[in-house]
């Protein structure tokens, strides 16, 4: 008996928190984790809508999102490791070679 909008609100809150996290945290890994949080929030909205319309397509999409998220995490973490090897730090503020 829970209205869909409640789920969506939750999803929205989680999304906003994730966005804030991306902006606030300086630890690269935590930033990454905030991104995962945002993706999750999106997944939640998908599933809520799928339930609302009584279709599986939303769930399938979540399936794909998860797959992509997994791949992305793999590559992203490899990147962070590589960067750590060169810069010896995971502070995003120190990764400012694009300055100019």
């Amino acid at each position: 008996m829970v209205p869909v909008s409640y789920y969506l609100v939750i999803s929205g809150i989680l999304f906003a928190l994730g966005a804030a996290g991306v902006m606030i945290r300086r630890n690269a890994l935590v930033v990454f984790m905030s991104v995962e949080l945002m993706l999750n929030a999106g997944n939640l909205a998908f599933v809520a809508f799928a339930r609302m319309h009584n279709t599986y397509s939303g769930q399938l999409f979540v399936f794909f999102v998860m797959t992509v998220a997994a791949a992305e995490v793999a590559v992203g973490l490899a990147l962070i490791v590589t960067i750590f090897r060169t810069k010896n730090s995971i502070n995003v503020d120190q990764m400012n070679s694009l300055k100019g």
Partner: protein, 173 residues
């Protein structure tokens, strides 16, 4: 207040709290663990929404694989506390403001959308098997192409990860 409403509220609370906790915790490990709790909560949400397979996938893939990977890397790189910084002083406030704005906007959208749908508790026929059957039917017919492409994507990601981190002979990787 029905049962599912109650459950929903409790879970929502936990989800948001854990998210906030992830945001504020200084220690990386703590942050990761908080996120794991969030994922769990969301998995239960999925169950409530009648998507058992997705709930499963959430627990297995997200909480089980991705977060573990995260923890590995955190421990590899050292979850040291970062010193407070002087760069970008305005960032926090901007983040809060924008976050709040975003929230307001999304809320407004939802409110204006006037969604009339109501989530019912999952019907009995939404057992695991029926859900998975339905999903896989859809997966292998309508969404076959994305499925195949996803497999290539995973392959590429694997190769990418290896290429990025491999140590060259006699030099840095």
């Amino acid at each position: 207040m029905t049962m599912d409403m109650f459950v929903f509220l409790v879970l929502a609370l936990i989800a948001i709290a854990s998210a906030v906790g992830m945001l504020v915790s200084r220690n990386g490990i703590y942050a990761a663990l908080f996120l794991v709790m969030n994922f769990m909560t969301v998995a239960i949400f999925y169950l409530l929404l009648g998507a058992p397979f997705i709930a499963l996938a959430q627990v297995t893939v997200y909480a089980g694989a991705i977060m573990v990977l995260f923890l590995f890397v955190i421990m590899l790189l050292g979850a040291e506390k970062l010193a407070p910084t002087t760069t970008l002083p305005y960032q926090r406030y901007a983040a809060y403001v924008l976050g709040g704005l975003l929230l307001v906007e999304l809320g407004y959208w939802v409110w204006r959308g006037a969604l009339t749908g109501v989530i019912l508790p999952p019907p009995s026929e939404y057992n695991a098997m029926a859900g998975i059957q339905g999903m896989s039917k859809l997966l292998f017919s309508k969404y076959l192409l994305p499925f195949e492409v996803t497999s290539i994507l995973l392959l590429v990601a694997m190769i990418g990860a290896i290429v990025l981190t491999i140590k060259q002979k006699g030099g840095r990787g």
